[in-house]
Each structure stands twice: as structure tokens, then as C-alpha cells.
């Protein structure tokens, strides 16, 4: 049994057979630390049943509910990771989690809100290649002042055939992880459309709606979520539109940040 804390939540993880715990550790939320004092508020059980004949069966149970039952051990581990991620994102008390890719550039965070398959990781990767620092390809983790903290899990890049998910580090893109936190300098709400990137400035009110749409704890912590979104956007420049080639879009976003910083050096905190 491993008891750990992540984002102020204490979780107990049991893996059977116990020898698989080291493998399961790699799927815990970023920044987790072992916990020896606090009682867990949540428990997760991962069981792999290696049968004498036929494929092994794996099951992930959380709080008594079956999360996944599968023939695929890697899939069970991914489900464990997903479950823990969403659990801390929804119930973590001191941060507001917004589904977004985030990079750091010139002392500011560039936020790319959006759901999966919106091309966030691709754009994050392009920004890293172009010289930005890595904060997250999954969540913008906002503190009560509206600053963004890293959520340093490895980037999930889908292989060209769209099937296998590759896990990459910032270093794989000749970049580095940002230790943050950073103020939000730019929010770009984009959707992938093949062709030319076309972005236009948009209002903070419109952008706030786009962030709400991707805010995990909005329903059970609406006041805190809205406060944080309001603060996060207080000095942010906001863009919306379609993006084509990721490298071109990355270049454009970074040039916008550079130009704003040139006009107002105080933005680079």
C-alpha cells in the first residue's frame, strides 16, 4: 500500500501483486509525495490477475467502484492515471484546474484552453521547439492569485497513425520545464483547421467563457473558479480563431507575446 499526497489530497493506492507498485508509481499525479501522517480521503485498488491460460485481466477500483476492467495492463495503468488526474483536478482544494496546454515565454504563461483532440499537445510541442518552456499539456493549474503553476506530466503525443500515445519530455523538444508560477500573458482559443492560421483579438469576457467551459471544478466551486479566472485574465491578451500549421501558429503566438512585452516590459514579471 502506498499512501501519497498530491495537490493537498491524500490517496491510498494498493496494487496486487505488490511487486507492480513501482510500475504504477509512474502514473501518479505530478508532484506527488509519500504521505505517512494524514489519513487518505480516497483509495484506489489495482489488481492484475495473471491466469495460467489466456490473457491476464486487470481491474482498477476506486472508492469501491470499478473504474476499468480490461485485458490490457497498459490500459489499466492509463485509466489509473486518468482517474487520479481527474480526481485531484476536481477535488484539489488550493488550485483551480483548467483543461489547457500551457507554456512559459518571456516571463508569462501562454494558455491554450481546449479539450482533447483539439490539438493542444501539438501546439505545445511546437511552442517548445520554438523556445518556450513547458508547464503542461493537460491542465493550467491556477492559484488564487490567478498565476499558473506547472503540471509537469510528460507530453502525450499521438503517433502519426493516431493510435499509440507517446510520452515525451520537454527535453525531447530541446526545451526545459518551467518551475513557475507565471502570470497569464496570452490566452489563445483555437481550433485546428488545415490551412492558414487566422487569429483575431477577442474580449476577456468571451475568453472567460472559453475557460469556464474547460474548468474542472466549476460546478462544485463556482465562486472560487470565477474569482481565479477573473484574476488570471486581468492582464491577459486574448486571441481566438483557427490554427493551421502548428509551427506557424507557435511563431505567431510568441511574436504577440514579444511585442506586448516590448510595449510594456512590466508584463514580464
Amino acid at each position: 500500500m502506498l499512501c501519497f499526497t498530491a495537490y493537498d489530497l491524500t490517496i491510498a493506492l494498493e496494487v496486487r501483486p505488490a511487486g507492480l507498485i513501482d510500475e504504477a508509481r509512474q502514473y501518479l499525479p505530478p508532484g506527488w509525495t509519500p504521505e505517512h501522517r494524514r489519513a487518505p480521503s480516497h483509495s484506489v485498488l489495482v489488481v492484475r490477475d495473471d491466469r495460467a491460460t489466456g490473457p491476464s485481466r486487470a481491474r482498477v477500483t476506486a472508492g469501491g467502484e470499478v473504474i476499468v476492467e480490461t485485458d490490457s495492463w497498459p490500459e489499466a495503468l492509463r485509466s489509473l492515471e486518468s482517474h487520479l488526474q481527474i480526481y485531484v483536478a476536481e477535488w484539489g482544494r488550493q488550485r483551480i484546474f483548467v483543461h489547457a496546454g500551457v507554456v512559459g515565454y518571456r516571463g508569462q504563461a501562454i494558455l491554450l484552453p481546449g479539450r482533447s483532440y483539439a490539438g493542444k499537445s501539438t501546439l505545445v510541442a511546437a511552442l517548445l521547439k520554438a523556445g518556450a518552456d513547458y508547464l503542461s499539456d493537460e491542465y493550467a493549474v491556477l492559484d488564487p492569485t490567478g498565476q499558473v503553476h506547472p503540471y509537469p506530466r510528460r507530453l502525450s503525443m499521438r503517433a502519426d497513425d493516431g493510435g499509440k500515445v507517446l510520452r515525451m519530455t520537454a527535453e525531447d523538444f530541446c526545451s526545459r520545464a518551467c518551475l513557475g508560477p507565471l502570470p497569464v500573458g496570452l490566452v489563445a482559443v483555437t481550433r485546428y483547421v488545415p490551412g492558414r492560421t487566422r487569429l483575431t483579438p477577442t474580449s476577456r469576457g468571451w475568453t472567460a467563457m472559453a475557460l469556464i467551459k474547460n474548468t474542472i471544478p466549476i460546478r462544485h466551486r463556482p465562486a472560487a473558479s470565477l474569482d481565479v479566472i477573473h484574476r488570471a485574465l486581468s492582464k491577459a491578451y486574448c486571441l481566438r480563431g483557427r490554427r493551421g500549421d502548428a509551427a506557424h501558429a507557435a511563431e505567431l503566438l510568441m511574436s504577440v507575446v514579444s511585442e506586448r512585452t516590448r510595449q510594456d516590459p512590466a508584463l514580464a514579471a
Binding site: E69, D71, S203
Partner: protein, 206 residues
């Protein structure tokens, strides 16, 4: 008519030219543009439509007539942001209004209210994230060829999460209870993210 803005169970945030209103009763967010926001804020139950038009015209610096105010009130009423509902236009009004609405749009004085339903946690996560919200309780799921998904993932694409008027329409969540699941190949998924317990006991040293 002396419309009055609803005040209970709302969280209001002001941005430069817009007002963001979150309805705690319905878990809906509304963004009011400048004119809609101005009119809504002056709906105190004592100000007439004509006076609302005058106030808006003075503050915006563009011509605002009673039709613009009426349109704004209808939009606000439809979103339940007024204490007393306002009826929509009759067919005749709708037809005669077009010219006025075109003029309003040209003068950038068209009231706009943009709305969305706040996502449940599951709606905002990756397709592999098949976890429902803490309040949800899975009560049954059908299984075929070894794999069940309650939360509904099909060929790697999440199809659930579309919420209409508080009800998730695929994946079938009503009043927080998942009542059925859908089947894909290989994996049974039916998750909940339970609310953290508040126990204060300390575990024995491991």
C-alpha cells in the same frame, strides 16, 4: 413594464465591457455584452423601458430605442436573469422589428447574451478519462464481449458529456445518476470520482 433583475444565486464578474453571470441554480454561465449588461444592471423594478433606453443611450453614446431594450429583456428573461418573465415578441412584432434590429446591429447596439452550461468534470477530460462526477452513481451497465463503458467511450472518441438543461444526453445521466452504459471492445469502464471524505483519523505508521 418595470423589469427587475434577478439577484439570488448568481455570481457576477465584471470585465471591461462585459458582465459574466454564473447561475448557481442551473450551472449556466452567461456573458452579457455592454448594452445587455447596462440594461440588466438598471433593471431595478422602478425604471421603465423608455428610461432604460435613455440610460443606455446616454452611457453608450449610440441611439438606443425601446425595441433594443425589449430585445435585451427577452434575452435576459429567456436565461432566467429577470425576476418576472418577459414575453417574446408576437409574430407581427417579429416581422416589423427586423429593420430596427438591423439598425441596432449596424450601430453596434445589439444586445447579446452568450450562454453555456458548465461542464461536468467528465465533459472536460480526455477520452481515456472516463470518470463521472462525484455525485454520479453508476447503477447498471450492459456488457458485450467483455467490455463495458458507462460514461460512453466509442472507438477512442468520447461521445458523452453533452449537457442540455442539466441533463447529460448521451451516457444518460439524469439528476446525477448514471443509468446505463454503452459497450465497446476490450474494456469495462464505469467510474466515479467520489467526494473526498473528511476523516481526521491518523493511520498507523506503515
Amino acid at each position: 413594464m418595470f423589469p427587475k433583475a434577478r439577484q439570488d444565486d448568481l455570481i457576477v464578474k465584471e470585465f471591461a465591457d462585459e458582465t459574466l453571470v454564473y447561475d448557481l441554480r442551473r450551472d449556466k454561465a452567461h456573458s452579457l455584452n455592454r448594452i445587455a449588461s447596462l440594461i440588466w444592471r438598471h433593471c431595478d423594478g422602478k425604471t421603465s423601458l423608455a428610461d432604460l433606453a435613455s440610460v443606455a443611450q446616454r452611457e453608450l453614446g449610440v441611439p438606443v430605442n425601446e425595441t433594443a431594450v425589449q430585445v435585451a429583456l427577452e434575452k435576459l428573461s429567456k436565461r432566467r436573469l429577470l425576476e418576472t418573465p418577459v414575453d417574446g415578441p408576437s409574430e407581427a412584432e417579429r416581422l416589423t422589428r427586423r429593420k430596427v434590429l438591423k439598425a441596432l446591429a449596424a450601430a453596434m447596439a445589439m444586445p447579446v447574451v452568450m450562454s453555456l452550461t458548465a461542464p461536468k468534470a467528465m465533459a472536460s477530460v480526455s477520452p481515456t478519462h472516463t470518470t463521472t462526477t462525484a455525485r454520479a452513481t453508476t447503477t447498471s451497465a450492459t456488457t458485450t464481449s467483455g467490455t463495458t463503458t458507462s460514461g460512453t467511450t466509442t472507438s477512442g472518441t468520447t461521445t458523452s458529456g453533452t449537457t442540455t438543461s442539466g441533463t447529460t444526453t448521451s451516457g444518460t445521466t439524469t439528476s446525477g445518476t448514471t443509468t446505463s452504459g454503452t459497450t465497446t471492445s476490450g474494456t469495462t469502464t464505469s467510474g466515479t470520482t467520489p467526494r473526498p471524505t473528511t476523516t481526521t483519523t491518523t493511520p498507523p505508521p506503515s
